[in-house]
Amino acid sequence: MDFLIVIIEWFPYLIGGIFATLGLVGSALILGVIFGLPMAVGQVYGKRSIRFIIGIYVWFFRGLPVLVLLFLFYFGIFPGLGMDVPAFFVGATVLGLRGAAYQSQIFRGAIQSVSEGQMIAARSVGMTKLQSIRNVILPQAVRVALPGWSNEYPNILTDSAICYAIGVMELMTRTSQIVSQTYITMPIYLVCAGIFILLNYGGMRVLHMIEKKIKIPGFGTGAA
């Protein structure tokens, strides 16, 4: 039973990892929106050259494993640029760039599902293309995209654990440290799994509540 004592002793240290984990997830989601939304707009409304560049970006960041991206940036790109970036920020950047790639496709689908008529109506009252996009298309697209976008959360959460490979002191890394210091394996791993599952569940609940809050009556996915 003494592993129970060990777990209780190390719990604060373990929990500390949650902040780093949530930080990684948060950046991925935020950067994902900041870069993903414009990319989606570019892919739907942009010129051929723009669509091509964005296409390459998406292909690259979705096609490479997270592990390879992390190694590439941590050992290769940042040092190559002469920058000494701490592991956490490398992780946040990689997850963010990758998140943008995935999320841009979700937003793109949502934008395309907003009916043609909306754009026509907006232009007919005199809005420019950009204004129409900003004021008519995007507000609708974002609501349609929300369920799909929320589904990114569990994926990003489990991907964040891979940042262990470059030493980010998040949940997975700390768990590993505790294990190597105390030689107790299964109970600690299972506690870690439990925390991830709780974060998963809790996060989805929060996202569902947000979905409910910004819902527009009569406006569902794919409504005309």
């Binding site: 490479l64 290769g76 190559g80 891979i162």
Partner: protein, 230 residues
């Protein structure tokens, strides 16, 4: 050292060896993961209360836990309860469980998109429920699940890289060793990246060909029968 010498005489041979290991991992996982996915999907849809509860619980656990953690549990944790797996086998088991869990989600969705009447007609002919599932429901469900399953296969190609964290020298691991030895990180990892992109692109083309081959008139991949009468 001259770049091309480096790439062709030192790097690529090592990467090829790593690639072989990666392909082994994928080739062993995919079929077993599919079988597991089918069994779990059937268990969740048609199983008795305890079975479907067990299956749902297992899938929820696997989906909510990082794959890396699962691999550590299998490789570092199991020995403490008397089961010791080699790094390769532990990776395989982890991948099969992950692939199976996510595949079961796609197959389950596909099963529920098969029209209700199919099972009723099968039973009216005297088929038992299991016969109906095996001969009527599953063939249709698997065709509809192809997009989802191929998506999952592509994820498999990518997360096979995590085997390196258990010291399996697959593509990523092989490359890292060379990169560390010669301090050529960016280049090496870009080439490794191309390797994975190559695998993914080949897969995407193969899937398109398969979809075309098994297409049945009237069954669109979106899961809706073109002449939907119900």
């Amino acid at each position: 050292m001259d770049q091309s010498v480096f790439i062709f005489q030192i790097l690529l041979p090592v990467l090829m060896e790593g690639m072989v290991v990666t392909i082994k991992l994928i080739a062993l996982t995919a079929p077993l993961g599919l079988v597991l996915g089918i069994l779990v999907a059937v268990g969740r849809t048609y199983g008795s209360k305890p079975i479907s509860l067990l299956c749902n619980g297992a899938v929820a656990f696997i989906k909510g836990t990082p794959l890396l953690l699962m691999l550590f549990i299998l490789y570092f944790g199991l020995p403490s309860v008397g089961i010791t797996l080699s790094a390769f086998v532990a990776s395989l088991v982890g991948f099969i469980m992950c692939n199976g869990a996510y595949s079961s989600e796609y197959i389950r969705g596909a099963i529920s998109s098969v029209k209700e009447g199919q099972i009723i007609a099968a039973q009216a002919l005297g088929m038992t429920k299991m016969q109906a599932v095996r001969h009527i429901i599953l063939p249709q469900a698997l065709i509809r699940a192809i997009p989802g399953l191929s998506n999952e296969f592509i994820y498999l190609i990518k997360y096979s890289s995590l085997a390196y964290m258990l010291t399996v020298i697959e593509l990523t691991g092989a490359g890292k060793m060379v990169a560390a030895k010669y301090f050529e990180f960016t280049e090496v990892f870009m080439i490794i990246g191309m390797g994975y992109l190559l695998l993914v692109t080949i897969t995407t083309i193969a899937v398109m060909l398969i979809e075309r081959k098994v297409a049945i008139p009237g069954m669109t991949q979106s899961g809706r029968n073109m002449l939907d009468i119900l």
